[in-house]
């Protein structure tokens, strides 16, 4: 446990001693900010249209700002998570520093968990920084904090899953670019896996829908915490970490 935290702290610090973390945080916040501004101004526009024309349903902050914002945030995370996780083990291998970790008196799982916590921690910092947008909404309107809470809880689970998958690929190669590309491919595949659902048989369509990384987020986005979704993300994360542990033990 102690060495896990030691490794996590070392890696988290090394994110911030290189420009990587700052660049990723900056780009993420810039993109999310841009989306927030546009979604919000569009909301204001459609709200005034609704008031003057009395057409359609009344737009709400949850439906028209928060939900699309978090949906978009998910897409951006899909792109940036591989860049965060790619170095975790690949770099150690390339620089031979993995020999220090693997000849220290600790179990491989400590290394895996330490690395996982470092990447997860950085993603949480990045996602946590977006709390500023719900707070802005709080100043000018009445956002549904149940929905906000659900969205953030969902984000935490999704971040854990992304990092675990990225960590696995980072353990398989000493080339960071290879690790990033494989991570991105895997994430995108599980994101789009439900596309085939409508052509599969009744059983398979259920299975494919259930495997979809994004499908499980929709409940969270409505402020609903369903154990099915929690179990899905946790088991995905757990499986990826287990595979990483095997891969580290074998090296």
């Amino acid at each position: 446990m102690n060495s896990t935290l030691l490794i996590a702290r070392k890696d988290l610090r090394s994110y911030f001693t290189s420009p990587i973390a700052y660049i990723i945080v900056a780009i993420f916040l810039l993109l999310v900010g841009w989306m927030f501004v546009n979604l919000f101004s569009f909301f204001v526009q459609s709200n005034s249209q609704y008031a003057s024309l009395n057409m359609g349903s009344k737009p709400t902050l949850s439906e028209n700002v928060l939900r699309p914002l978090f949906g978009n945030m998910n897409v951006i995370l899909l792109f940036i998570a591989p860049f965060i996780t790619m170095r975790l083990l690949a770099e150690e291998r390339k620089d031979h520093t993995v020999e220090l970790l693997l000849t220290a008196p600790l179990k491989p799982i400590s290394i895996v968990m330490g690395k996982f916590l470092a990447g997860f921690g950085l993603l949480l910092v990045i996602v946590g920084a977006t709390l500023v947008y719900p707070l802005i909404l709080q100043f000018i309107g009445k956002p549904d904090w149940g929905v906000i809470f659900g969205c953030y809880l969902g984000m935490i689970f999704i971040c854990a899953t992304y990092v675990a998958i990225g960590l696995f690929w980072s353990s398989r190669t000493e080339n960071q670019v290879v690790a990033a590309v494989l991570t991105f491919g895997t994430l995108l595949f599980f994101w789009l896996i439900s596309w085939a659902a409508h052509r599969a048989g009744p059983v398979w369509s259920d299975v494919l829908n259930h495997l979809s990384l994004i499908g499980h987020f929709s409940n969270f986005a409505q402020g609903i915490v369903d154990t099915t979704d929690v179990v899905y993300y946790l088991s995905f994360t757990g499986f990826a970490l287990f595979a990483t542990n095997l891969s580290v033990e074998a090296s």
Partner: protein
């Protein structure tokens, strides 16, 4: 302290080490000597628990390197071929991280690291990023990492690579001072290093142990011959049959004339017989104009080359 029995590691078809067997007693400094690619690093990686062996056993401090991995790792300090240092970390932070990974209690870390830095002479760069240091400094940071947690066993893979001559002297002195309290295995392909630091030598070539003995023992074993080199004014050709009649002379050869037109005669004597005066008297009595006589004993360098070449010829015969 360290027992290695029939250790073998194969990568597919290629055998990196083949039934390597040796042992190191507590407090000893063992030199692991061999040319590049002989299997030194592979053996050390297995001992450190970094690589699994294919077959064979090894134990450190009584712990089996395969079964009691964590205990083995806790009792060693390991400096791999490439020092495992993080370029983006300052020296002191790195050493503290490494020491804590090796279970040094939190309140003792600062003192342990300061001590290791003083021993390796790197206190002056403790706040610099390792990535900005020269190879010699990085190597010493790696060494400090290996000794910071004061392990009973030290495994040092080519510890003086990349150092300048003065630093080499310092590190050798440091390693010598570590013997006694620590058991040290140190690999090298440089002979003077073994002569300067080690009490025992294991010579390895092409994955096999070709000799394991004390320094003196290896030199002695190789000294089947004592060699006398004579410089003469006249051609000693006619002397050869006579020389061969002297008891104790195993061979006599005439070398090329040197630039000054002097002849050289090389006489090899069996071990334990001092025939200098006999040979000199013979030459004088034959009026050959004896200009010089020198005695050569085979150095460890010769012994090393000889061990490997005899091994080679033995392998060719198979």
């Amino acid at each position: 302290m360290i027992e290695v029995k029939e250790l073998t590691k194969t990568y597919g078809q290629r055998t990196a080490i083949d039934r390597v067997t040796f042992s190191v007693k507590k407090g000893e400094i063992l030199g692991f000597l061999g040319p590049n690619g002989a299997g030194k690093s592979t053996t050390m990686k297995i001992l450190s628990g970094f690589l699994p062996s294919t077959t064979g056993e090894a134990s450190i401090n009584g712990y089996d390197v395969r079964k009691n991995v964590v205990e083995v790792k806790a009792s060693i300090g390991y400096l791999p071929e490439n020092p495992p240092v993080y370029g983006s970390m300052p020296v002191q932070d790195y050493l503290e991280f490494a020491a804590r990974l090796h279970l040094v209690p939190k309140h003792k870390v600062k003192a342990a690291v300061a001590d290791a830095m003083a021993k390796c002479n790197i206190s002056d760069v403790k706040n610099r990023l390792i990535g900005n240091l020269s190879k010699g400094y990085r190597q010493r940071v790696g060494l400090a990492q290996a000794i910071a947690h004061n392990p009973p066993v030290l495994i040092l893979d080519e510890p003086t690579v990349g150092l300048d001559p003065k630093q080499i002297m310092e590190i050798r002195t440091l390693i010598q001072s570590l013997g006694g309290d620590h058991t040290v295995i140190l690999s090298t392909h440089i002979l003077p290093e073994v002569q300067a630091t080690c009490s025992r030598v294991v010579v390895i070539d092409k994955g096999r142990v070709v000799a394991a003995d004390t320094l003196a023992g290896i030199q002695k074993r190789m000294q089947t011959n004592l060699r006398l080199v004579l410089t003469l004014r006249k051609d000693p050709g006619f002397l050869l049959p006579k020389l061969k009649n002297i008891n104790g002379i195993t061979a006599a050869t005439i070398g090329d004339k040197n630039a000054a037109g002097e002849h050289t005669l090389t006489v090899e004597c069996a071990q334990g017989s001092d025939l200098r005066s006999d040979v000199a008297e013979l030459c004088v009595s034959q009026n050959l104009g004896l200009l010089g006589l020198a005695q050569e004993s085979l150095s460890l360098e010769d012994a090393f080359v000889k061990l490997i070449t005899t091994e080679e010829t033995a392998a060719e015969r198979h």
